[in-house]
Amino acid sequence: MTMPGEIILDVRDLRKSYSSATGAFERGGAESKGRTMAVDGVSFSVERGETLGIVGESGCGKTTLARILLRLIEPDSGEMRFRGQDWRRAHGAELRALRRRMQMVFQDPVASLNPRMRVGAIVGEPLAIHEPRLSRGRRRERAAEMLEDVGLGAETLDRYPHEFSGGQRQRIGIARALILRPELVMADEPVSALDVSVGAQILELLDRLRREFSLTLIMISHSLPVVAQLATRVAVMQSGKFVECGLAEEVLRAPQNPYTQSLIAAVPEIPA
């Protein structure tokens, strides 16, 4: 039995454009005038506990959309409500309080970890910011617990990121994202920098943590097969728009939009 779920994130008609004539090497002229719509009227809502996969090829606007949702960049127009509050206009204490409930897992676990910080400090850093009154010892304990939850031992606390493999570094990035117990986690290409066998470990981990921590996940990827593993709903993005959005099984089995159909047809299949 399914209950109508609580909407945790609601987005209405988001738009973001960039000027396409930029840079010292641009020649100008008719071709380069005008603006590119990176996000062109995107609306969707995410229910608590579900996993929404956003799929699209390079340049479709999925990363710009993610950055808007995280409030790293401002949209030109549109509305965003997170946990019922006006997320687009939140500022000050309200912004900080909401921000800790929405965290991010990045694509490149090498670039997203400070090479000069020990793992314990990296994972504990969000606590230092959002729970400044916590003692250093308690912070370290929480970091150790979190590392254990992602499958790393407490001995990792005092080591540096370069001592770990790509998959272990992605676990560290996930531990940092989850230590504040966020409600919504956005994962941008979380396995595309990893080998197949290691990527599968990370997908398993994300799915387990989603259940254990009652997370809502938004997974952004260029890969339909990767998204198919976790997503309950799939949105297909092309030229800044959601061209199809629906239950994962339905979109993958019977895609309605021609672009979705071509994306699915292009995936090289492994004989079963």
């Binding site: 790509g166 080998d195 066998s197 398993e204 260029h222 699915i264 090289p268 299949e269 492994i270 004989p271």
Partner: protein, 330 residues
């Protein structure tokens, strides 16, 4: 042309001593055939191709044999052994008999040189006597062969002005400009969108048939290998652990690593994917016996005694072989 690789090893110096990223690899690649080499990072698949191209970084040593001979000629030791050539001979062979395309076309192209001039360079190196007009014509032919639309206009552009797919077409044009018979493609579509990947794979397939290219296709993607390869070799920690006809290996894998890779690969149909526990061991500290042993669910004490031989899979076809003492359930 056929490429016959026997006992190819690569040794690299590291602070902890010499390591062997490629360890006794043998295979035969027939004319107009595609052999897929599948492996994860650290498997040695890229190092293998660099060794064949004579492009190992200084300090790296390759040993073994890699014979290129005309297909009619099956005799041993005739033809040319790429691994025994001096740098000048290797330079002459590179591009002319064996060529390579890479994962990232942007880094393979010179950013401050028009792409046409780069294709021209690849031709001029091997045919210095050609005049400017002839070279221009050959450049356009090469770009057309790689299905570059509007080749005249594209030739005058720089790499940054081209899309990822077009850039890869340009590197394919460069690689094939001097008429090689063996092409090594190292993850040529990994950086591309899936719809563009499809076009590049189709292009390579057409070129293979038209030019009777022998292709070594290196990839981590089992779906891609199923689409392009006739045969596949799966590498783990420097060794081939399983090889055979691609359909057979993917449908009825014999080595636990191949089985694990297939289970871990995300597919469009949602199934429970199962990860392989653990990670690829560092080359400096390989476990005794079978390198996959510590991650293997079928592991028994005997597996650690010696590196298993690559032996025929009993239930499989004649050329299906696996490096596992328990491959047949034993």
């Amino acid at each position: 042309m056929r490429l016959d690789v026997r006992g190819l090893s690569v040794q690299l110096p590291t602070p902890g001593g010499w390591v062997r990223p490629v360890n006794g690899v043998s295979f035969a690649l027939g004319e107009a055939e595609t052999l897929g080499i599948v492996g994860e990072s650290g498997s040695g698949k890229t190092m293998l191709s660099l060794a064949l191209m004579g492009l190992l970084s200084p300090g790296g040593r390759a040993s073994g044999e890699a014979w290129l001979h005309a297909s009619a000629n099956n005799g041993n030791g005739s033809g040319e052994n790429l691994l025994a050539e001096n740098p000048a001979e290797m330079r002459a062979a590179r591009g002319r008999r064996i060529a390579m395309i890479f994962q990232e076309p942007m880094t393979a192209l010179n950013p401050v040189m028009r792409v046409g001039a780069q294709v021209a360079e690849a031709i001029r190196v091997h045919e210095p006597s050609l005049g400017a007009k002839q070279i221009d014509r050959r450049v356009l032919e090469a770009l057309e062969r790689a299905s570059v639309p509007e080749p005249k206009r594209r030739a005058r552009q720089y790499a940054h002005e081209l899309s990822g797919g077009l850039r890869q077409r340009v590197t394919i044009a460069m690689a094939l400009a001097a008429g090689p018979s063996v092409l090594i493609a190292d993850e040529p579509t990994t950086a591309l969108d899936v719809t563009v990947q499809k076009q590049i794979l189709e292009l390579l397939e057409n070129l293979r048939r038209e030019l009777r290219l022998s292709m070594l296709f290196i990839t981590h993607d089992l779906g891609v290998v199923a689409q392009v390869a006739d045969r596949v070799a799966v590498m783990y920690a420097g060794r081939v652990v399983e090889e055979g006809p691609v359909e057979e290996v993917l449908r009825r894998p014999a080595h636990p690593y191949t089985i694990g890779l297939l289970r871990a690969a995300p597919r469009l149909v949602r199934e429970k994917i199962e990860a392989i526990p653990g990670a690829v061991p560092p080359l400096g500290s390989l476990p005794p016996g079978c390198a996959f042993g510590p991650r293997c669910e079928r592991h028994i004490a005997e597996c650690d005694a010696a590196v298993p031989e690559l032996t025929r899979v009993t239930a499989g076809s004649e050329t299906h072989r696996a490096r596992c003492i328990r491959a047949d359930g034993g």
